[in-house]
Symmetry: C2
Subunit: 345 residues, 2 copies
């Protein structure tokens, strides 16, 4: 079994390796860390750590490198998440100040986070499946074209164009708006989708009015669908190129995941947070998502009841304590901004 000092050795190895990018040997450890024992003793500890597969040697006689499992133990038991420096805190608030609507806040958030960590920053839109539909508006354009606007009480707005089967005048449009509103306003997004689908299976579209309602509902359904599959905002993609050396293979899978979004959404969604709302998914733990060489660090945040995540993606060899601290701090800012200060939305 690994001793207490053994764990400290693991900690030292992780820290030094993240620092220097080079396999760390027993001698280097006794030099850089005051263990008060000789290199031979450290070697014995390292042999045990290797038995437990927490560290590994790239080649027979070289220093050791943390395994994914080693990083996991480090993150779970050894990492101290130190609070951000005042300078970093003011940096965050400077990024976020003066933002109005949700979109804006989220964009600024990822910018702040990528600035802070030098990694790819990611934020989930608050889940809208449980949000309530608070408004539906129709704006008549020329001819049969109508803009359909859907608003939820979490502050998300969506707009999309519908082409009606017939030209309608103002009173007909008003009737349309009233009917669609009574059908959906006050419902959650999830219920809304159900209502629309139910309605779609009802008898044939005979009258002008019925045809118009059907056309509008089709568009509304698309919009609600978009709400359900919460989206991502990202920044700092270019950082991947800078950190390229940390990826054995290519950064292709990461860029692909960034473009796909769906993969990242699922990954972020499935991560299990600890008591502080913090979560990390390390290296091969992401194998199912094609991201075996990447780590994702995330934190929950609250937005008017809806819960979502903000985090970052980078190489397995990343500075977990500092990144966890940054993510946590940003998540707290976000929660404060989106929940407490209602008027700010």
């Amino acid at each position: 079994m690994v001793s207490e000092r053994g764990l400290q050795v693991l900690r030292a190895i992780v820290q030094d390796y993240v620092d220097t990018r080079e396999p760390v040997g027993s001698k280097a450890i006794v030099e850089r860390h005051a263990f008060g024992v000789s290199a031979a003793t450290i070697r014995n500890d390292m042999a045990l750590l290797e038995d437990e597969e927490l560290i590994a040697a790239p080649h027979t006689s070289s220093g050791r490198v943390p395994t994914d499992k080693g990083y996991r133990v480090f993150v779970d038991h050894l990492a101290e998440i130190r609070p951000l420096s005042p300078a970093q805190r003011t940096a965050i608030s400077q990024f976020l100040e003066g933002s109005n609507d949700l979109d804006d806040v989220l964009v600024r958030t990822v910018r702040a986070l990528t600035q802070l960590t030098g990694q790819v920053a990611i934020v989930q839109y608050p889940s809208f499946a449980k949000a309530n539909i608070s408004h539906i508006e129709l704006v008549a354009l020329d001819g049969p074209r109508v803009i359909v606007i859907v608003v939820t009480d979490t502050g998300r707005v969506s707009q999309r164009l519908a082409v009606l089967p017939d030209d309608l005048d103002e009173t007909e449009i008003a009737r349309l708006r009233a009917e669609v509103s009574t059908l959906l306003v006050g419902k959650t997004v999830r219920e809304g989708v159900a209502r629309v689908e139910e309605r779609a299976t009802s008898p044939a579209e005979t009258t002008r009015h019925e045809r118009a309602v059907a056309a509008v509902l089709r568009v509304v359904e698309e919009e609600l669908d978009e709400f359900r599959q919460d989206r991502l905002v990202m920044a700092g993609t270019a950082n991947l190129a800078r950190r390229e050396a940390d990826f054995r293979g290519s950064i292709y899978p990461l860029l692909e995941a960034i473009e796909e979004q769906v993969t990242l959404l699922r990954l972020m969604g499935e991560m299990v947070a600890d008591d502080n709302g913090l979560a990390a998914s390390i290296g091969r733990e992401n194998e199912a998502f094609g991201l075996s060489e990447a780590s994702v660090v995330a934190s929950d945040y609250d937005a008017t009841g809806a819960r979502a995540r903000v985090g970052l993606m980078g190489p397995t060899r990343m500075d977990y304590p500092s990144n966890l601290a940054s993510v946590r701090a940003v998540a707290r800012y976000l929660t404060r901004l989106l929940s407490d200060d209602e008027s700010n939305r």
Copy 2:
């Protein structure tokens, strides 16, 4: 001076180099292309091409590689743009079929183009500076919050949240809507911005109504600004990782440009198109944008009078004829979709 055959040699060098990624020597040329002369003769031609700086040798005794200037001559005088194959054409139409609004069409377009070329595809939104504001709508939410929607006749819709200084009732909102509409509807985006700024410098905001108008106009101005600085839609970013070997340095500047957008917008805007609306900007010609190792190929397209560009970005060592053909074909589809078939928007 470079002879006619000399130019054909240049063509062969470009083609083979793009093909094999390796410097091409005189012997390889006589083997792969039926010039009917010996390698020594080709060597003489190559010496001339080198004098003209159209090709260069990576090291003293190795095959030659086209210079940026060489690619330029190739594109301008030697490249034959062959029409796409039927299979490629059907691929495009399959990508584009069933799309509704502008956003959708553009997203599908870049997907088609990236699929076709394996490069990063880029499309500019049609320029909205000259577009007319056709609608302004206010949607009252709870309390003082109002959604401000601006629509242009080119089909672009923007919505944004405004927080008014006071709570207003329905009639006041209606008055607000009427006032803002008379001020702006029918104007071009450019004129609209001017109107708003002019109005902003007028006397103090005394009444509730005046304060509200000012608040709404501030938001409208932001939206109009967004219209003016036409945006981009992109796809295929991950392809950069696949083609990484073609970039001597790193792909960092490219990823950065993709994230910035502004750089790419300026670049695409400044390119000079030929009679067919096609344009290419090669390697060092992009130095001012920090993209000396990339080439951009683009084509104009029309959308209800507004003109914009669709194109792609990739390594200097790219297949120009095929990429030019793809861009041209996609641009034609786009023009047809956005201009002719009005009802489709």
